[in-house]
C-alpha cells in the first residue's frame, strides 16, 4: 500500500525588535528571571497594551517578501486560557483578520523546485516560561519572554515529505534572516515550528486526520518528528486503527512523539477582538516605504545570478541561501570578471568546508572576500595552480587565526590579513611556467625514472600520470601542470 504524507507548518519567528510587542521592556535573551518584565508584562491591574510599530513593520516586510496581501486593516484578538506563564490569562494575537494573508515560498526538493503556499502570517505575543529545575518541587515563573513579538507563519498543507518540510523550514528561516526581521537563533527559540502531519492512501483526495507536533526547534528534530509521526500513523491505520486528532510533543531523546492533549481536551479559547487595541490600520505610504526599503530577495537574486554569472540553478540557490553569502560571492565575482564559476566553486567548496569545520558563519569568515578574490585571481592568471592555491588558502586561514605559519616551513605571517600575493611571494609558491626550466625538470624526471618510462612505452597509460606527479613533486607543486603535460607528451613522443 502506498501512502501519501501531507504536512503543513506553523512557524513562530521572533521579531528582532529591541522592545516587546505591547510594552517597552527589552527583548534581549538570557537575562536573570523577571528582570525584563515590566508592569504590563506581569499584567498588573490597570496596565494597557501599546503596539510596537517595529513589529508591525517587520510583519509588513515579511508579507511583501512572500508576495502576500498586506491587510490594510487587521484586528488583535484575545486568546483566553489559564496558565501560570500567561500573566493576563489571555494572549493577544490576531485571529479573524491577520496582517498578512496568502503568499508563497519556493523551495528546492529532490525533484526540483516547488512552491509552498502560505495561508497567513499574524502578529502575536509570546508567553513566559515555567521553571522547574532546582525549585524543590515548586514551579517558578520567568516572564522575561512574555510579550516578545512573534510572527506566526502558517503554510498550506503543501509538503509531501519530512525532507520537503525541512526544505520549507530552511527556506523560511533563510528568508526571515535575509529580510532582517528575525535573528533565526533556534537554540534561543527565535524560530520554532509546529508540524501538522497526516497521511492518506495515494490517490485519495480527502485529507487524513492530522496531528499537530508542537515546538520543534531544530531542523533535525523537525525531520525526525515527522518521520516518526508518519510511521506511527501509517502503522496505526494498517493495523486497522485510526488516527485521533490531537496535539503531540516530540521527545528528542527517544526520537518519538507522544500525546499532549486530545481534541476533546482542547481549550475553548473564546477569541474576541481586544477592546484595548483599536484595529491596526496601515496607510498605503507606510507599506510603500517598507517595499522600497526591501532588499533584493533571494529568488530574484538567484535568477539574476544564473543570468549574470552563468551559474547553474543549484549553485545560484546555494549562493543565495543567505544575504551574507550572496554578498561575499558578489564581492569575489566582481574582482574576477568572467570567472564567476571559479568563485562559486571555491566559496561553495573550500571556504564552506573550512567554515563548517570551524563552526563559523560566513559573516565571521577569517578570509575576507577581498582576500579570496586576490587568491582566485592568481589561479585565473596562471600564477599558481589550483593545488598551490589550496596551500595559500590554508595559510590565509591560519594567518587570520593568529599565526600558525610554520606548517609550510615558511616564515610566520606578520599580519592577520595577508594577501594571496604576499603569501605566494613569501613562500615562493609562484607557478613555474618557464618553458626551459620545465624542460630541464622533465628531463631530470625522465632520467631518474626509466622504469616508469618503460612501463609507459609498453602501453601502461597510467604511468604517464605518475611521471606528471613526479615532475610536480620535484617542483613542490609549483610547475604549471598543463605545460608539464605538454612537454612530457612531446618528450615521450606520445
Amino acid at each position: 500500500m502506498k501512502w501519501e504524507v501531507v504536512i503543513g507548518l506553523e512557524t513562530h519567528a521572533q521579531l528582532s525588535t529591541a522592545s516587546k510587542i505591547f510594552s517597552g521592556a527589552p527583548t534581549a535573551f538570557g537575562a536573570a528571571p523577571n528582570t525584563q518584565a515590566c508592569a504590563f508584562d506581569i499584567a498588573l491591574p490597570g496596565v494597557l497594551p501599546v503596539l510596537n510599530r517595529g513589529a508591525v513593520e517587520r510583519a509588513i516586510r515579511f508579507g511583501l517578501a512572500v508576495g502576500a496581501t498586506i491587510n490594510r486593516k487587521s484586528v488583535f484578538a484575545r486568546k483566553n486560557y489559564f496558565y501560570p506563564d500567561l500573566p493576563k490569562g489571555y494572549q493577544i494575537s490576531q485571529y479573524e483578520i491577520p496582517i498578512v494573508q496568502g503568499g508563497a515560498l519556493t523551495i528546492a526538493t529532490a525533484s526540483g523546485e516547488k512552491t509552498v503556499r502560505l495561508t497567513r502570517a499574524h502578529l502575536e505575543e509570546d508567553a513566559g516560561k515555567s521553571l522547574h529545575e532546582g525549585l524543590h518541587g515548586m514551579t517558578g515563573i520567568d516572564l522575561n519572554r512574555a510579550g516578545t513579538p512573534l510572527l506566526e507563519i502558517v503554510s498550506e498543507p503543501d509538503m509531501r515529505s519530512a525532507a520537503e518540510a525541512v526544505a520549507y523550514a530552511k527556506a523560511l528561516h533563510a528568508l526571515v534572516k535575509w529580510i532582517g526581521i528575525c535573528d533565526g537563533n533556534m537554540q534561543e527559540g527565535s524560530f520554532r515550528c509546529d508540524a501538522n502531519v497526516s497521511v492518506r492512501r495515494s490517490g485519495e483526495s480527502k485529507l487524513g486526520t492530522r496531528c499537530e507536533i508542537k515546538n520543534l526547534n531544530s531542523f533535525r528534530f523537525l525531520e525526525q518528528a515527522i518521520e516518526f509521526e508518519v510511521r506511527r500513523q501509517v502503522e496505526l491505520i494498517e493495523d486497522g486503527g485510526s488516527v485521533v486528532q490531537e496535539t503531540r510533543l516530540f521527545d528528542p531523546d527517544r526520537h518519538e512523539t507522544r500525546s499532549m492533549r486530545s481534541k476533546e481536551d482542547a481549550h475553548d479559547y473564546r477569541y474576541f477582538p481586544d477592546p484595548d487595541l483599536p484595529p491596526l490600520v496601515l496607510d498605503a505610504a507606510w507599506i510603500e516605504r517598507v517595499a522600497a526599503e526591501l532588499p533584493e530577495l533571494p529568488e530574484a537574486m538567484k535568477t539574476r545570478f544564473e543570468r549574470e554569472y552563468a551559474l547553474t540553478a543549484y549553485d545560484a540557490r546555494v549562493l543565495t541561501s543567505s544575504r551574507e553569502l550572496a554578498a561575499y560571492f558578489e564581492t569575489v565575482a566582481a574582482t574576477l570578471a568572467g570567472s564567476a564559476k571559479l568563485a562559486a566553486n571555491w566559496i561553495m567548496g573550500e571556504l564552506t568546508a573550512a567554515l563548517h569545520k570551524a563552526s563559523l558563519d560566513i559573516a565571521d569568515s577569517p578570509i575576507s572576500a577581498g582576500q579570496l578574490a586576490g587568491l582566485l585571481k592568481r589561479i585565473d592568471d596562471g600564477t599558481i595552480s589550483g593545488k598551490i592555491a589550496k596551500e595559500v588558502f590554508d595559510a590565509m586561514w591560519e594567518g587570520a587565526g593568529g599565526g600558525a605559519g610554520h606548517a609550510a616551513g615558511g616564515r610566520t605571517p606578520t599580519t592577520a590579513t595577508l594577501s594571496a600575493d604576499a603569501i605566494i611571494e613569501e613562500r615562493g609558491l609562484k607557478q613555474i611556467s618557464d618553458e626551459g626550466a620545465l624542460e630541464r625538470i622533465v628531463d631530470e624526471v625522465l632520467a631518474a625514472n626509466q622504469g616508469v618510462v618503460a612501463e609507459y612505452r609498453s602501453g601502461k597509460e597510467k604511468a604517464f600520470n605518475s611521471l606528471i606527479g613526479k615532475a610536480m613533486q620535484a617542483t613542490r607543486g609549483k610547475a604549471n601542470p598543463a605545460q608539464v603535460n605538454a612537454i612530457l607528451k612531446k618528450k615521450l613522443g606520445a
Binding site: 490597570g46 501599546v50 475553548d268 473564546r270 477569541y271 474576541f272 477592546p275 484595548d276 487595541l277
Partner: protein
C-alpha cells in the same frame, strides 16, 4: 477646630485664595468630619490622613508662593478602582484587599499634578459590578440622605462622600452608569466623558470598551474644573484620543440673560418616558424640563427605536470583556491566593472562588458563556451588531437635537438589600444609562428634585461625542436658576447617631 463641611470646589478655591482658611485647616476639618461620618456611611475603603495633610501643606506652600492653580488644595478621593501608588488599590474585592500598585492611574496622576489633596480611596461595588455599592468586600456604602438606602453604584463611595460634604470632588468610573446613577441617587453631579477623553491607564479594567473615568462634584461648574484636569491624551492607552486640549468650562462664564439656553434643542426620547418610571421621578423630570424651556431651550420628541435593547446588549458585552479582564486575578503573581491547594487547577479554583464575590462570579460565568465556541455569534457578535444599531439611532437623533434629556434612573434610591437577590431587577436600574457607554458618548446627571421620601432624583443629559462643554453649559444654566444642587443631606437626622453639623 470644628469639623468642616466641604463646600463646592469653586467656593473652596475662592476661600483658599482669599486665605479665609489654610488648606491644612480645611483638610484637617474634613478628616475630622470623615472620622465622624464615615463609620455610618462606609464611603471610604482607605483614609490616609498623613498623606492628605502632606498634600495640603504642599498646597499651602503653592498658595504662599503664588503659583496655585484652579484645583490647588481641593480635597478629593478616588474610586478604589483607580490605581494609586500612595495607598492600596482594592477594587472593593477580597482579591486585591492588600494590593499596592507601583504606579498611579493617569487621571489620578493628572489630578495630583493639578494640586489636589488626596484624602483616600472610596468604596464601590466589587470590580465596579453593581448599581448599589452593596457588593464590596468592605461592606455596603450607605446613602447620606438615608442610611437605610443605597447610594447607587458602582461608584457609590465617591458619590456618598461628595453628597455628605466629606470631600469637594471625587472620581468615579462609568461602565454602564456607575457615575451617573450614584450621582442621581445621592443628589450630586456626575459626568461620564466621551470614551477616550480620559485615559484608562491605571483604571482596573471591568469592560474595556465601555469603561470611562469621570468626576463627581456638587455643581456642573466644578465638574468642568475636574474634567479640565482629568482629560488629555495618554500614549499608554491606545484608545485614548489625541485631540487638542479643550476648556470644558469655557461656556460657563457670563449670564447670557434670562434665556441663556435660547437655541438649544433638547430631545426627549419617548422610550425614556414610558412605563416603569416612578411617578415622583417622572414629575421631577417634567418640572426640570419646564425649567429648561423657561431658560430658552426647546424640546423635541425623538425616537431611539433600538435603545430598549441596550440592557441586554450591555449585559452580553460587559460580562464578556470582564470574564477576560479578570482572568489575570489567578493567585500567581499578586493578590489573594488560596492558602492550600492540591494542584494548579485547584489553586485557580480555590483562589478565584474565595477571592471573588457572587456578582463578579455571576458576570464571569455569563461572559465566559457568551464567548464560548458555538455561542459567540448568537450572543457577542449579535450584541456588537445591535450596539452599532443603537449608535445609529443616536446619530440620527442628534440631527434634530443638541442634548437628550430624561431621568438618570427609573427610581430614587432603594433600600439596602431590596434588590440584592434579584440581579435582573438590579440590572434594570441602568436602563437609561447604559446606552451612552455603548455609543461612547458623554452623559451626566444633575440633581433635579426629591421623591416623597426625601430621596434625590437625577436628570440625565446626554450629548453626541465631544459635547461635554454643551452638556455642562445646559447643566450650569439649570443650576443658576435652581437650587437642587445646593441641598445637602442633614446627616444627623438620617443617621440618628451623628452630631449636627459644626457642633464639635
Amino acid at each position: 477646630m470644628p469639623a468642616m463641611l466641604a463646600g463646592s470646589i469653586t467656593e473652596v478655591a475662592r476661600a483658599l485664595r482669599a486665605k479665609r482658611y489654610s488648606c491644612v485647616e480645611l483638610t484637617q476639618g474634613l478628616l475630622d468630619r470623615i472620622a465622624q461620618l464615615n463609620p455610618a456611611l462606609n464611603a471610604f475603603i482607605t483614609i490616609d490622613a498623613e498623606r492628605a495633610l502632606a498634600d495640603a501643606r504642599a498646597a499651602d506652600a503653592a498658595f504662599a508662593a503664588g503659583n496655585a492653580r484652579p484645583l490647588t488644595g481641593i480635597p478629593i478621593a478616588h474610586k478604589d478602582i483607580l490605581a494609586s501608588a500612595a495607598m492600596r488599590t482594592t477594587c472593593g474585592s477580597k482579591m486585591l484587599a492588600n494590593y499596592a500598585s507601583p504606579f498611579d492611574a493617569h487621571v489620578a496622576d493628572l489630578l495630583k499634578r493639578a494640586g489636589t489633596v488626596l484624602v483616600g480611596k472610596t468604596n464601590m461595588d466589587e470590580f465596579a459590578m453593581g448599581s448599589s455599592s452593596e457588593t464590596s468586600f468592605f461592606g455596603p456604602v450607605r446613602n447620606p440622605w438615608n442610611t437605610a438606602y443605597v447610594p447607587g453604584g458602582s461608584s457609590g463611595g465617591s458619590a456618598a462622600a461628595v453628597a455628605a460634604r466629606l470631600i469637594c470632588g471625587g472620581t468615579g468610573t462609568d461602565t454602564g452608569g456607575s457615575i451617573r446613577q450614584p450621582a442621581a441617587l445621592s443628589g450630586i453631579c456626575g459626568l461620564k466623558p466621551t470614551y477616550g477623553i480620559c485615559s484608562r491607564y491605571g483604571l482596573v479594567a471591568f469592560a474595556s470598551s465601555l469603561d470611562q473615568a469621570g468626576p463627581f462634584a456638587q455643581t456642573a461648574e466644578d465638574l468642568a474644573l475636574l474634567l479640565n484636569a482629568m482629560a488629555g491624551h495618554d500614549p499608554r492607552d491606545s484608545t485614548s484620543l489625541d485631540r487638542p486640549a479643550e476648556d470644558y468650562a469655557r461656556m460657563l462664564a457670563g449670564s447670557r440673560g434670562a434665556r441663556p439656553l435660547e437655541g438649544v434643542r433638547i430631545g426627549l426620547p419617548r422610550e425614556y418616558f414610558g412605563a416603569g418610571i416612578d411617578a415622583d421621578v417622572a414629575a421631577a423630570i417634567d418640572t426640570a424640563l419646564g425649567e429648561l424651556r423657561a431658560l430658552g431651550a426647546t424640546t423635541v420628541d425623538i425616537a431611539l427605536a433600538n435603545v430598549k435593547l441596550a440592557i441586554p446588549v450591555y449585559y452580553v458585552i460587559a460580562p464578556a470583556e470582564a470574564s477576560s479582564n479578570l482572568s489575570r486575578f489567578d493567585g500567581v503573581r499578586y493578590g489573594h491566593r488560596a492558602s492550600s491547594y492540591s494542584d494548579l487547577d485547584n489553586m485557580y479554583e480555590k483562589t478565584r472562588a474565595e477571592g471573588f464575590g457572587a456578582e463578579v462570579k455571576r458576570r464571569i460565568l455569563v461572559g465566559t458563556y457568551v464567548l464560548s465556541h458555538g455561542y459567540y455569534d448568537a450572543y457577542y457578535l449579535k450584541a456588537q451588531q445591535v450596539r452599532r444599531l443603537i449608535a445609529g439611532d443616536f446619530r440620527r437623533a442628534y440631527q434634530s437635537c443638541d442634548v437628550i434629556a430624561g431621568p438618570t434612573a427609573p427610581t430614587a434610591a432603594f433600600r439596602i438589600g431590596a434588590k440584592a437577590d434579584d440581579p435582573v431587577e438590579m440590572y434594570l436600574n441602568d436602563i437609561f444609562t447604559v446606552a451612552a457607554n455603548l455609543t461612547g458618548a458623554p452623559a451626566m446627571s444633575i440633581p433635579c428634585g426629591f421623591d416623597r421620601s426625601g430621596l434625590p432624583i437625577g436628570l440625565q443629559l446626554q450629548g453626541d461625542a465631544f459635547a461635554e462643554a454643551t452638556l455642562l453649559d445646559v447643566a450650569h444654566r439649570f443650576q443658576r436658576a435652581t437650587e437642587w444642587h445646593q441641598r445637602a443631606p442633614t446627616l444627623a437626622e438620617s443617621t440618628g447617631s451623628l452630631p449636627p453639623e459644626g457642633t464639635q
